[in-house]
Each structure stands twice: as C-alpha cells, then as structure tokens.
C-alpha cells in the first residue's frame, strides 16, 4: 500500500506536465481573446473538480448519518477541505481572466457566482467543524453538508434568472467549443482530478493520524493521572487496536 502513493504521485506529475504542455502550446489560440484564453484550461477543470469533491462530501455525509462510521466522516472532511482549495483556485483565476478581456475584476457570471456561494457554504462547513469540538461534530457537519447541497440548485436558479434580468459578460463563453480545445480541456480535467485524488488521499491519512493521536492522548490523560485503578482498563488489555471509533 505504501509504495502506490509515490508511484501515483509521479504519474500525476507527468500527467499535469503533459496537460500544461497541451494547454500552452498545442491548444489553438482563441481568435478574439488571444493567449489569455488559456486560463480557461485551468479555470474550468478546477471548477469541475471542486464540484466533484463537494458531491463526494454530500455522499459521505449521507452515509455517515445513516451508518455513523468514522471513515465516511473522514472522507467528508477531506473532500470539503480539498474542494474549498480548488474552489479558491477558480475564484482567483476567474477575475484574473476577466480583467484583461473585459476590463473588470468581477462579473456576477452564473458559474462564477455559483462557485462563490459554494465556497462560502463549505467554508462555513469547515468553520463549524473547527468551532464545535464536541464528539458530535461529525453529525452536525453532516447535517450542514446536506443543507448546503439542497441550497445549490436554488442558488443556481436564482442567479440564472438574475442573469437573464441583467445580462453580463460570461466567463469561458457559452456556445460550442473547438473540438481540439475540448480535447485539451478534458486532459487538464483528468490531470486535476488525479491531483485532487492524490491530495485527498494524503489529507485522509493525515486526518486518520490526527484521530489516532487524539484518541491516544485521551487515554493517556486518564492513565497518566497515576491512578492505580485496581481493574486495569479493559480497553488496554482485551480490545485489540481496532482503530479509532
């Protein structure tokens, strides 16, 4: 198991490099916007990856609420955190792209605004996890994740209708796309998805380590009180290392 991670890391690195090469040289230059349009190949895949991660978070939260197993909760934490990172990338590259093309930093474009609202929802999700330290944090966070997911379609429709009222420039342009560009886009998306998977896996192992250390400290604080409890804690002797609950 240990060896797979570095191999996957190298493969992802190569894939990212190849995708970068495709985006910079291979993809045809866009007639109107010129080379700056190539931000598209980082901006859009990051958004799709972020939405994918938030979807994973929803699934993991629902599973946790039903079966209460700690692994689903850990996956929920990881997917939310890595999702927010990718969302940040989208929210940073968006304005950088809009500035040279339309001369404005921010446009209430449908996709960009939806991403912004999603980012706000999942940052509040992470805040809730950090602020509530009770043993029931996972349950509260799972409930909030479901609320967040229910909110997404409503956000999308409210902004979509708002856009029809006040049309504004659309990032990434609607309508059909040059097949070669689409090809490069998909390669980049594949590369970023692998990278996201790698990040999530590392973050998952970090989360598991954190929980193990937390549980060990909990036991330590009780045993460490120097109390010679006559009946040794059964937890030490009998139950094997079943991993943190």
């Amino acid at each position: 198991m240990k060896r797979v991670f570095p191999i996957l890391a190298v493969l992802t690195g190569l894939l990212l490099a190849y995708a970068f090469y495709e985006a910079i040289w291979v993809a045809p230059m866009e007639r109107t916007m010129g080379d700056v349009q190539r931000i598209f190949y980082y901006h859009v895949p990051s958004a799709w990856t972020a939405f994918l991660l938030f979807f994973v978070n929803l699934i993991a939260s629902v599973i946790y609420l039903i079966r209460k197993n700690a692994k689903a909760d850990a996956v929920a934490v990881v997917s939310a955190e890595v999702g927010v990172v990718f969302c940040t990338v989208v929210l940073v590259t968006g304005p950088i792209w809009a500035r040279p093309v339309w001369g404005i930093w921010w446009t209430w474009d449908l996709r960009l605004t939806t991403t912004l609202v999603l980012w706000l929802i999942y940052v509040s999700y992470l805040m809730l996890r950090r602020f509530s330290d009770s043993s029931q944090t996972p349950k509260l966070a799972a409930v909030l994740a479901i609320f967040g997911a229910l909110d997404v379609p409503l956000v999308y429709f409210s902004i979509w209708f708002f856009r029809t009222q006040h049309p504004q420039p659309v990032i990434g342009g609607g309508g059909s796309i040059d097949p070669r560009m689409l090809h490069v886009l998909l390669i980049n998306w594949l590369a970023f998805s692998c990278f996201a998977f790698l990040l999530s896996w590392a973050r998952y192992r970090l989360e598991w380590l954190q929980r193990e250390v937390e549980e060990a400290q909990a036991l330590e604080s009780l045993l460490g009180d120097g109390l010679a409890a006559p009946t040794r804690a059964p937890l030490d002797k009998t139950s094997s290392r079943t991993g943190p609950q």
Binding site: F20, M33, G34, D35, V36, R38, I39, Y42, H43, S46, V82, V85, T88, V89, V92, T93, I96, W97, R99, P100, V101, F195, L199, A202, R203, L206, L209, Q210, E212, V213, A216, Q217, E220, G224
Partner: protein
C-alpha cells in the same frame, strides 16, 4: 498585448494556492508525527 502577463499570473496563482495547502498539510503532518512520538515515550 500584456494579457500574457495575466495568463502566467493565473497559472502561478493556481500552483501557489496548491503549494500553500500542501505546505499546511506537511506542517500538520510533522507536528502530529512529533506528538505521536511523544505519546510513545509517555512524555507530554
């Protein structure tokens, strides 16, 4: 057209964000490994 600057800015920004995140993860990882080692020796 100086729009190329924005292209590089966007790409750099992307990897800067990912690098920052990886940095926090590595820092937390080493801090936890340290705590785990302390636990092993029973010291606080």
């Amino acid at each position: 057209m100086n729009s190329i600057k924005f292209l590089y800015a966007a790409y750099i920004a992307t990897w800067l964000i990912h690098a920052l995140y990886l940095g926090t993860m590595v820092r937390r990882y080493s801090r936890l490994r340290q705590q785990k080692k302390n636990l092993g020796t029973g010291g606080k």
